[in-house]
């Protein structure tokens, strides 16, 4: 089957075609660029929502609830779930589906697991292309679930329109709330495992942290939602908060600002890819640094100078 056939299949709701295309996109090969070209002009209407937080906070379980509820309401949902690649073997255990296998049976839900491969920021190399693919395929919501992440894996904020941070009680005191990083960036905070002791306290601490934010007129007020997979509470509020943020983006004109941020992030990542591919075939530069013939800064300049003179198809 040609790429054109796969693209037209994916655009008309064929899951098999979509899934095959996702593999092409993930391979980051020449076919991936071809797919990118074929998808141009499609999509642009998905609400792209990031979901991040520490391992075991309940990101996948929350997503299972959100996907099920949204699907019941007639919305289509794609989930891109990233789990870590082994730095030793290059393999990965992708286990996010475990919580979502019921939800995945619905015809308007598609769940795809991604290994983080070479990236260390909680995302995967093909993250942006994968979002673009599901957006083009017409999914109303595209959720991006990061690797279980700590404090400074903030790159996700540049990839999504709305960011949901999931926290659960029992992980540190209020000083954690003062720390810089992902805590500052979320649009919606889910305090999960609300049935456990400490959830109310965590929610109060979050509220008090957010109350110290500088206020601008027309600014989005981050929401805090208590939820629990045990009792099922909070998920409707969570969807409402996400939708409200989406509406806020559209009304406030911040959507434009977001597109700019995304464009910058995409371009910077493409530059990085180009450098990585070129560096991989110019190992002698690193050897020269190791031998003391070049400084790291000198090597960087040499590499970048020569990269601009190489015709693209060579690497």
């Amino acid at each position: 089957m040609s790429l054109d056939d796969l693209v037209s299949g994916a655009l008309t709701g064929n899951q098999r075609s979509l899934s095959r295309l996702a593999t092409f996109v993930e391979s980051q090969s020449d076919q991936a660029s071809a797919v990118r070209q074929l998808l141009r002009g499609h999509g642009g209407s998905a609400h792209v929502v990031g979901i991040t937080g520490p391992p075991g906070a309940g990101k996948s379980s929350i997503l299972a609830h959100l996907a099920t509820s949204l699907s019941d309401a007639g919305k289509s949902v794609a989930v891109i779930a990233v789990d870590p690649t082994s730095p030793l073997s290059g393999g990965a255990t992708l286990g996010d589906r475990i919580r979502m296998s019921e939800a995945a049976l619905r015809p308007n839900v598609f769940i795809r697991s991604l290994a983080s491969r070479s990236r260390l920021d909680g995302l995967a190399p093909a993250t942006l292309d994968m979002i673009r693919l599901f957006d083009a395929a017409g999914y109303g919501y595209v959720f991006l679930e990061t690797v279980g992440s700590g404090q400074n894996q903030v790159e996700i904020a540049n990839h999504v329109q709305s960011l949901l941070l999931v926290e659960a009680p029992g992980a540190g005191d209020s000083v954690q709330m003062l720390k810089a990083g992902i805590m500052e960036l979320a649009d919606v905070y889910a305090v999960n495992k609300a049935d456990l002791p400490g959830a109310q306290l965590l929610s109060r601490e979050l509220r008090s942290m957010l109350s110290l934010n500088e206020q601008f007129p027309g600014q989005w007020q981050p929401r805090i939602v208590l939820c629990s997979n045990e009792t099922g509470e909070g998920f409707a509020d969570l969807i409402q908060a996400i939708d409200d943020h989406g509406a806020h983006l559209r009304q406030s004109g911040t959507a434009q600002e977001h597109r700019h941020r995304l464009a910058r992030s995409k371009t910077m990542y493409a530059i990085q890819q180009l450098i990585d591919r070129y560096a991989a075939v110019n190992e002698e530069v690193f050897a020269a640094v190791a031998d003391g013939q070049l400084t790291p800064e000198g090597a960087a300049e040499t590499l970048l100078k020569s990269i601009s003179q190489v015709p693209r198809p060579e690497f």
Partner: protein, 138 residues
């Protein structure tokens, strides 16, 4: 053309709570450089086929110790075929009695790995027999 890791789905069909073997195999494939999608316990044939479809796996490893393989395997194979997943390599492991093996193979399952199979045997088999796809050069 870049190479990519092979993707394998490790699945536990039916009412079978014993997943030690499945977890050991998931770990072994991970350590051999595979991307392993683990479904967890109590999966219906439909869930397994849906996961294989959405994850676009090269291979599926079915782990079963409940004795229900003769009723579950044909349903899994039929769900896979319905979704057009004819080229996916399917192997099985667990406790499948010798007299059942010929029939299991006739269902389209490529190989049955019984108790005592070394992990490297199973890994080498999957690596060798996974379908050659246009996007994969190993």
């Amino acid at each position: 053309m870049t190479t990519r890791p092979l993707r394998i789905l490790i699945a536990k069909p039916g009412l079978d709570g014993h997943d030690r073997g499945a977890k050991v195999m998931a770990r072994a494939f991970r350590d051999a450089g595979f991307e392993v999608i683990y479904t967890g316990l109590f999966q219906t044939p439909e869930m397994i086929a849906t996961a294989a479809l959405q994850e676009d796996v090269d291979a599926i490893g079915l782990s079963i110790l409940s004795g229900a393989h003769m009723s579950l395997f044909p349903r899994i194979m039929s769900e896979l075929r319905q979704r057009g997943l004819d080229d996916v390599l399917v192997v099985a492991g667990g406790t499948i009695p010798e007299p059942d093996i010929a029939e299991v193979l006739a269902m389209g399952i490529a190989r049955v790995f019984g108790p005592g199979t070394s992990m490297s045997t199973a890994i080498a088999y999957v690596r060798e027999h996974a379908p050659h796809r246009p996007d994969h050069v190993a």
